[in-house]
Each structure stands twice: as structure tokens, then as C-alpha cells.
Symmetry: C2
Subunit: 612 residues, 2 copies
């Protein structure tokens, strides 16, 4: 097959995109000279010949064709997903103004742009794995009654929706960067790079009236709608944007995919676990050996058992996943049935920073298909996929990289699980937290109609969807100010900012950590850098446990003035002996000089423990 | 005892306050001439001699003393709760500036003003009723590590908090009424009645720096804090306000009470049910015969059985509650243990609009003490307690009532359950939805330290607390613009607005509903008006079930262009035969003329069904 050819092609075109690096696979990882410090000796072996998907192939071909032939207005690379931003604009123009008032429900299908989506097969049904809780959840009777509101002339004395005349906020304004110049804080504050955008209380109510003859302003969303009760799935206004963005980035290859807003991926994961896992059934969730601690802390009180799948620098190993599932013995597993749920963070995994390449994702998906496992794809760091780290990079790379077009940016991303998902076996969780603001407490998910329906029913009882302030603010920003094009450029800007931070942290690691003892694989996405400390070289090796050494080094770190994450905090199976001695660091928050100093302190803590 | 004396005193002073009406008890309810249409024949009988609590007594005495003697700066009625707004200002002045940066934890005790709170006894422990899920919930390891951040000079590479330089919002401004003139939309838009308030990204970060010598502006909260990750309990800045407000309104009579923010009371109830109820234990939740449908829909999928307690126009009957608990037979109840959880909406109950008077609340609390039942007090409509409805009211009452002082407003409110709560057996859920904006998806709760701690642990996994946009916006409004005084005046304004709406709806009921068939008890709080249709007078009585008649009338309503709520939607035990034929209406949303027309249509639907 064309693995080698495609890798070469991609690498030749642009070694600086992370997709290129990861498509190129292990050869890139092992070509990093003195930085070849893998934290596990396991190398990825693809067990399926389809490790480069059709989607990936067409992307790369289109990409190579793009450079020479096609004008910007009709970007060929975005075509890989079937649609372009231009197509979205055209569809919107055809559709006319979105009319959606208080607590309106959204018709997600009407927001899809790819013309042939109806011809795709439907997702599979997942009734056989729903929990008792989720299966027994009835629709909210008051929200159901809203169907009668469509009757012309009907007066509702039904739902207790407060009258917006009593909302004490007439308008909300935000000062934001327009992207016309740069996306920096200075640009946002300046006249030509920033703007103050305002949403009034009745901006769209006049528009709603306009459908019956009047002529109001052109706005489609306002505070009287956003700040009243809404559907737990989210407002049609935000869902339109989210659906379009998802189609642009992922385009799930089945027909009945849906989006709905979440109160952030932490909450979305909790809801998902309660939809798919059942305490009484003794269900097991599969995840990486080291996994996001909050995900583990969410699963345990629900009575869900957690099993870690071995991983390397590209994350979860499909061979290990297959071995666990193929050899599952219910009795030996204490009565737990064969797992049907996998939780994974494919890009910039928390805590290890591992990023699954395209082939790895395809292989994991194939194993899940084989064993009928449902996949929770948690992707907060998806858009923070970085160019490979180089110690001796050209001077230019210490300056910001030239701005990417939205097409180049999309081209640089590894395909998502949901873009491989012919079965509708993936729930993808997207987040604004890492790329806009965590405080929005708002994200979205993509899954099949059946699963989104269960999720929305759940949300009606447990949170009623995200804040209206958040929906209004993000609508103002990503819809009214930036649009899809501007948002993708913003993402490229944020990624560049984190890439520079990563480079500073990795430089410090090279400069300040005792080589031969501390090793790592340079992180290719996200916010985390995972450090392996070789416990076999500790003078007390064999006398003290890994956990004792970890605690000693952690305490020395605090003593010397640096806080790092202990590997054991992230162990999927904390009752099992630790496989190695690890620490998680982040380059997200501290300043450049502080990061360097912090790594120096960490190095000193390790040296002191090792008596060097 | 002094029941009669106090009632008379209060009623004489101000019959127009709802507390007065309800303190006066059944005599007020039965003194309503032609509007004496109780929807059940059951009259309240207080089974305990302590039906007027010490708190209530001192309130009334203080109130009567207030009018003549004491200057405004030291309001005596607020003294009933131990503190005044002036006391809060004085305590804040002593405490100095609140310094709380990103993801800071709040010390709730430091926000308490009542000087003797430490001398009160502690709440009881509730370990014996915690669910398996809640009891097994461990603290979030990453949030625990934050304790090390207090070490001076420590650099954190621990938590993956995004850098605020990448937050694309420089400032947020809101146009709001200041309350200097009126609270109307027109006032908010005007120069002397409104203001544009702004929160910048780094307003408080400079302040934080000021603690180490610099001099920044005086702000205590900014977007760099609000829009980053925070504690799931909420920001210290909002929690200070919420704690002060709670102390002013409720002052729980035990020492270790706490507050924490919620994502609204819908979500808070779901969390509470999972803290106190256990599917495997077969737990039962007690509530009113007719109860909030979303609460019922939340309980069922969790495997919680629901049992309805009989009610009258003052809500739940303590005698009925006592009878259920005293006679509990585990075997006859299908193995369900004696209930330990009561869910109630004391003011303007949803759906019946019933409001428990002070004596009723005391009696319910006493029954709960006797049987060791924990109380979930859901109070979204608490501040919408209205003056009694009069059909032939003086012309002046069609104009807005004269503005109340904050003290008069507090005086007019029936004491809360949590203000009677010597045991710490109450979780009170407060909401901004009905009095500010539902879209904030933010409220708060008050309970003992143990229960709040379990709640916060839960929130860390299932939602991470309310939106930062919501916290920032409401902080700007209630803290920076209004303060406690302004907020209480705003509440009085909103209450007056809903009172006028209620009067319009009730006038329409008097004018347009077939008397002798449709009856009601005028609602005294909230947003709902409950209509009883006498099914025994239906020509098909005995031939068709109540549910069939309900469906027929509902469909006729839709046909005639009015949407109302069906009583059966709210039945606590939907599998039991309906006790009567009821419909819920709301006066919250429709315009005055639309409400009147809607009730006329409802009357016609009933007449058609009854062949009149």
C-alpha cells in the first residue's frame, strides 16, 4: 500500500505540520537524534493493512494538488471533508435567516452542508449497551408539550418561562480581536485589530417579528432568547455554528450524526459513562495505562471498573487492546462482562502528551469494530497539534510562524475518530476550554442521533445545558466576529503560542535534566510533557518501591519550589504496581523564565534523590 | 401561646405582605369571600404547639418596634437574623480587600458576619444516609495538589490551566439598571437610571500584585480569573456575596453551614438525589402529591421511588407526612426502607402554587426531626411571595406598589426551612433563574459542611461548577452595581411585577371560568396558578376516567389555542389513579391581554367538555 509514498509526500511538502510528522509514523519519531528518548520500549505495529484511511489518502493527494492549481475561493483541501467554508456560506444564503426564539429546538440536519449526506448509511443502534438508567429515561414532559407552540395563534400558559422584561441586562458587549491584523491582546485593544461587539436584549425579537411582515434588524440571536430557559441541547444559533464547524473538520461518514452542546467535556464524560455503563452489570471502561485523573475519578464512584491498555509515544496500542478483548474471561475478571466502552484522548493525551497518528487511530478503530466496542473520543487538545520539536531550530522559528490559511490549518490536523466512523460508534467530545476560555463551561459532542437523544434527555435532568451568557458570548465571538475562517485562524494562532511554550520547556529539559536518568518523547500536541525517570538506576532500586521514590522526588520538588504531577495520580489501575516512575509537567501556564527555572529545580530534585 | 396575638399584630401592621397573610394562617385564607375556593377540602391542623418559631416571634416583635423607633442605618428587622447590611459593610471594611486569584478556594466562614456563629452547635453527621456513590467519591487529586500553591515562590507545572494571554476577550460590559430611579428597561436605558459596567481581563491581577507592594486598582475579580478554570464550588468573589445574602435572609442556626454555587437547581437536585439516595437500597423520596415534573423525571431513572404526601392550599400536610413515616412497613413497601429524604418547594410550589406558612414549615420540620428525615428545600420562587389577591382592589393597586426598603422586603418573607434548621438537616437550593435570568445556569445551596463537601466533590466530576461568564456577569450586577441593598430592592420590584401579572390572570379566572365547576385557591407566591375542575360534575362522570377527561379538555384547549399543563404530568405517583382533575397555568410569560384571552379559551374548552 501507499504508506511510504504518502508519508514521503507529506513530509516533503511540509515537515513542519504535525499531521505530516505523524503520518510519517515511527520513522519521524526515531529520527530525532539526541532527543530519541522513548519512555517505553514498545514500538507501534499496525495489525491492519488499512492503517492509512481513505480519508487520509484523499487529504494528502488533494493537499499536493492544492499548492499549484486551485484558487483560494474554492479550497481543495477542505474538499477532503466534502465541504468548504464557501459551501457553508452558499448554503446559509439559500436557507435565509435563522428564525429561532426562546427555547427553540434545533434541526441539526438543516445545518449540514455536504449535499450527499442523506445517501450515507445510518448509524448502528446501541440499545444493547445502554445502562438501565439511560434506557429508563423518559422525555421531559414540559419540554415535549412545547411541540404545541407551533400552532399559529396559540397562547401558552404552559411552561413557567420568566418574562424577559424582568431580565436586568439590556445588552452585553465584549472587546475582542477581530483577526484583521493579529490575534494578540495588543491587537484586540487597538482600533484596527479589535472591536467591541454588542448583543442587545431584543435584537432578534424584532427579526422574529419580521417574519410576519415587519422589518427588524438582521440579528438572529439576542439576550431575551439566550438568557431565558433553553433546550438542554443548546440554542439553534450556537448549534448551527458547531454543526458546520464539525462538518468542516470531521464530516462523520454516516447520515444521522448530530451535535449537541455540553457543559464542558468533564460533564459530558460523566453523562456518557452513565449512558453506557451500569453498576449492576459490573461494566469495565478501557483507557490508556495512564489516563486523565478526573476521568478515572468520575468512573470509580459510578461503580465502573477501569482497565488500562498499554501505550507508547503514540498512545494506546491496538495490539494490547485486541489482546485484552480477545482473551476476555468473565470469570477471571470477577464477573465483569467483556468491555464495550473505550475512553481515549487521541491528541496530546493527558497526562502523557502522546498523540495517535492517523494509522494508529485507524487501527484502534478497527479493533473496536471487531469487538463491538463504543469509543469516547475526548479531544480538548485536538487543535493544539504542533510541528515536531527541534532543539537546534532555525532562528526564524523563535519568531511566530507565518499565519496559516484556514485550509492549511485543517490540512495539518490528523483525522479524527469520528471521521473514520462508518458505524456511528464514536462520541466525540469537543471543548472550548483549551482554545478559547475554560470558564465558558461549554463544549459540544458529535455522535449518532440515538446517542445524542439519550444525552439530551439526560441533560434535561442534570444541567439543562450550558449557560446562556456563555452561548451569547461565544456566538458573538465565533459566529458574528470571526466566522469559521476566523476561528480556524485563531486556532492556528493559539497552537503557535503553545508550540513556543512547549519549545521553551523542552529546551529546559535538554539543558537541565540529568541525561541517562530522565527521558521523554517530545510532545506533539496539547499542554503536557511526560517525563520518565529511570527507577532502575536509583541507588535504592530494589529496596524501595517506585511509589516511594515518586513520593520522595515529589516532596523534593515542593521543597525546591516546583509543583509537578505524580505519575501515580494518573494510573488507570492504581491498585496495580507502577510500571515506571513518571512525572507530568505542563507548559500551559507559567512564564518562559519560570518554566526554565522550574525544570532546573525538578532536575535538582531528581539529582538529590539519586544522590548525584 | 401567642399565635393569635402575633397574627393580629402582623396583619394589623401590614395586611399586604404575604408573610403577614400566611402568619395569620387559615383565617386569611377563609376570609376571601367569593374567592374561597379551596382545591382540597383538607384544612391544615398543626400537630405541634411550636408552630410559630422563636425566629418568627422575634421577627414580628422587631417589626412592630421598627416602624417608630429605629433609624434606617441600623435596621432592626434585619436584626431578627442577627445581622444587617450595615454589619456586612463593617465586616468587609475590617477584612480588607478579597485577594483570590485563579482557581482559588473560598473560606466560607470568613464571609460570615454574625459574630457569635462559632458558639452555635455543629450540624449532625449524615454518613448513615449517604449513597454508596457519594460515600466512595474521592477528592480530585489535581485540585488537592493546589494546596502546595500556597508555598511562596513555588512555580507550578502541575495543573493544565491555560494561559489567560490566550483568552480572546479583553473586557465584558453590561448595560443594567442601577436602581437609582426605577428598575424598568426604560430606566436601565436612561442616563440617570442605568449604567454600563465593565470587567476587564486583568482588573484584579494588578490588585493581586498589589499585596506584594504594587498599587493596582481596587477590583477584586476579573476575566483572567473568571474565565479560567475555577473551583466547582464557585469563585470566592461570588461565594462571598452569596454567603452574605444567605446570612441576611436565612441565618441557619448552627455553626458549620456552608454555601456553594450550583449549575442551577435542576442540576443541584440531581446531585443531591445521588448523594442521598441509592438504587440498590431501594430508597424512597417523599414529596407533595403533585410535584415538579422535572424533579420526578430526575428521580425515576436513578431508581428512586417517589411517594406523594397529601397537601392543601398551604402545601404538604405534616399529619400526612407523619402518618406515612409512623406506619412505614418495609415489607408492604416492597422492601424499600423507611424514607429519609423529603423534597419540597415551600413557596409557590410547582405546580400547585401552594405556599407553606411559617407554622406549616415548622410543623413539617418537626415531623422530619422526629423521623430523622433530611429535607431538600427547593426555593426558586421564595422571593416572589405576594400580597393576597383581592378581586375588588383599590385603583391604586393597579399601579406599581410604592417601593419597599430592603428591610421591609425581608420582613415580608416567610422564614425558610434552613432558618429553623438546628440539626443541619436541610439543603436549601436558591436560584437566580426566576428573579434574574434563567440563562445564568447558576444558583447556590446552603447546607452543612459535610454535605456541601460531598456536593463539591460531586461537582468536580460532573460539571466543574457554573460558567465563568455567568459568575462574572452576576458579580458585576449584584456585587458591583447593586450590593445587597439594591438586590433586595430589585427582588421587591420583580415580585411586584409578577403580582400584577397574577392579578390579571386571577381576574380573568373570575370573569371567564364556569363557577361551580372550576375552582382555585389564589396563589400567594411564584408563577403558577392551579385550577381544579370538578370531575364529579362532568356528564360522563363514572363512565370515563379522570385521565380521559383531562386529555379531552387538554386537546380542546389546544384546539381553541391555549396551552396549559395537565395535572397528571405532575403526579408524584403516576401509576395511582388521579385524585382530581387539575390544570396548571402560569402568569409568568404571556402579555396581559393574551393571558385573559387564554383563560377565556380554557373556560370554553371546559364548557365544551361539560356540554354547557
Amino acid at each position: 500500500m501507499s504508506h511510504r509514498a504518502i508519508s514521503t509526500l507529506t513530509v516533503r511538502r511540509s515537515l513542519s505540520t504535525p499531521a505530516a510528522a505523524l503520518l510519517a509514523g515511527a520513522s519521524i519519531w526515531s529520527a530525532r537524534g539526541d532527543l530519541q528518548r522513548h519512555f517505553t520500549p514498545v514500538l507501534s505495529k499496525t495489525r491492519t493493512p488499512r492503517f492509512v484511511s481513505a480519508t487520509t489518502k484523499s487529504r494528502c493527494s488533494a493537499a499536493s494538488a492544492a499548492a499549484a492549481e486551485v484558487p483560494y475561493e474554492d479550497p481543495p483541501v477542505a474538499r477532503q471533508y466534502g465541504i468548504t467554508i464557501g459551501d457553508i456560506h452558499a448554503r446559509r444564503k439559500r436557507d435565509g435567516r435563522l428564525v429561532a426564539g426562546t427555547a427553540a429546538t434545533a434541526d441539526i440536519d438543516s445545518f449540514k452542508t455536504f449535499p450527499a449526506w442523506r445517501e450515507l448509511p445510518k448509524a448502528r443502534r446501541w440499545d444493547h449497551i445502554l445502562s438501565k438508567e439511560s434506557a429508563s429515561r423518559e422525555p421531559c414532559v414540559l419540554k415535549q408539550a412545547a411541540v404545541h407552540l407551533k400552532k399559529p395563534g396559540l397562547i401558552s400558559l404552559g411552561g413557567g418561562l420568566p418574562s424577559p422584561e424582568n431580565f436586568p441586562i439590556l445588552s452585553m458587549s465584549l472587546r475582542v480581536p477581530t483577526g484583521a491584523t493579529e490575534f494578540t491582546e495588543a491587537a484586540a485593544a487597538s482600533e484596527d485589530g479589535g472591536a467591541s461587539i454588542t448583543m442587545g436584549k431584543y435584537d432578534a425579537s424584532q427579526t422574529l417579528g419580521a417574519t410576519s411582515g415587519g422589518s427588524g434588524p438582521a440579528e438572529e440571536y439576542d439576550l431575551s432568547i439566550a438568557l431565558n430557559y433553553g433546550q438542554s441541547a443548546g440554542s439553534p444559533q450556537m448549534l448551527r455554528w458547531v454543526t458546520e464547524h464539525t462538518e468542516l473538520v470531521c464530516r462523520p461518514p454516516y447520515s444521522d450524526w448530530r451535535t449537541c452542546l455540553t457543559v464542558g467535556s468533564t460533564g459530558a464524560l460523566e453523562q456518557a459513562l452513565r449512558i453506557f455503563c451500569d453498576r449492576e452489570r459490573g461494566d469495565t471502561m478501557l483507557t490508556e495505562t495512564y489516563s486523565f485523573s478526573t476521568a478515572l475519578e468520575t468512573a470509580t464512584p459510578l461503580g465502573i471498573r477501569v482497565l488500562g491498555v498499554e501505550m507508547d509515544e503514540q498512545g494506546m496500542l491496538p495490539e494490547s487492546l485486541d489482546a485484552i478483548l480477545s482473551g476476555w474471561d468473565v470469570r477471571a475478571r470477577g464477573g465483569s462482562p467483556k468491555p464495550h466502552l473505550l475512553y481515549t484522548v487521541p491528541s496530546g493525551q493527558n497526562p502523557t502528551g502522546a498523540t495517535q497518528g492517523a494509522a494508529r487511530r485507524r487501527a484502534i478503530y478497527d479493533v473496536c469494530s471487531l469487538h463491538d466496542v463504543y469509543i469516547l473520543e475526548d479531544e480538548p487538545y485536538y487543535f493544539l497539534q504542533m510541528r515536531p520539536y527541534q532543539r537546534d531550530r532555525p532562528a526564524t522559528s523563535s519568531r511566530p510562524a507565518p499565519a496559516l490559511t484556514s485550509v492549511e490549518f485543517l490540512e495539518s490536523l490528523i483525522p479524527t475518530f469520528v471521521s473514520l466512523d462508518v458505524d456511528g460508534r464514536v462520541m466525540r467530545m469537543d471543548s472550548f476550554s483549551k482554545v478559547l476560555v475554560p470558564g465558558s463551561r461549554m463544549g459540544w459532542l458529535t455522535a449518532s442521533e440515538q446517542i445524542v437523544e439519550r444525552f439530551v434527555r439526560h441533560g434535561e435532568a442534570c444541567n439543562q445545558g450550558p449557560s446562556g451568557f456563555s452561548q451569547a458570548a461565544l456566538y458573538e465571538l465565533v459566529e458574528r466576529t470571526w466566522g469559521h475562517e476566523g476561528y480556524l485562524k485563531w486556532l492556528a494562532h493559539v497552537r503557535e503560542s503553545y508550540t513556543q511554550r512547549r519549545d521553551i520547556l523542552l529546551d529546559a529539559c535538554v539543558d537541565h535534566l540529568p541525561s541517562g536518568i530522565v527521558s521523554w518523547s517530545p510532545t506533539a500536541a496539547g499542554m503536557f510533557h511526560w517525563l520518565k525517570v529511570d527507577h532502575t538506576k536509583h541507588p535504592d532500586h530494589g529496596k524501595r518501591s517506585i511509589l516511594e521514590l515518586e513520593e520522595e522526588i515529589f516532596n523534593l520538588c515542593i521543597e525546591k519550589g516546583v509543583l509537578v504531577g505524580r505519575g501515580s495520580w494518573f494510573a488507570a489501575e492504581p491498585d496495580q504496581p507502577q510500571a515506571g516512575l513518571f512525572f507530568r509537567t505542563t507548559f500551559a501556564a507559567a512564564s518562559a523564565s519560570a518554566m526554565t527555572e522550574a525544570i532546573r529545580r525538578f532536575g535538582n530534585a531528581v539529582r538529590e534523590s539519586y544522590r548525584l
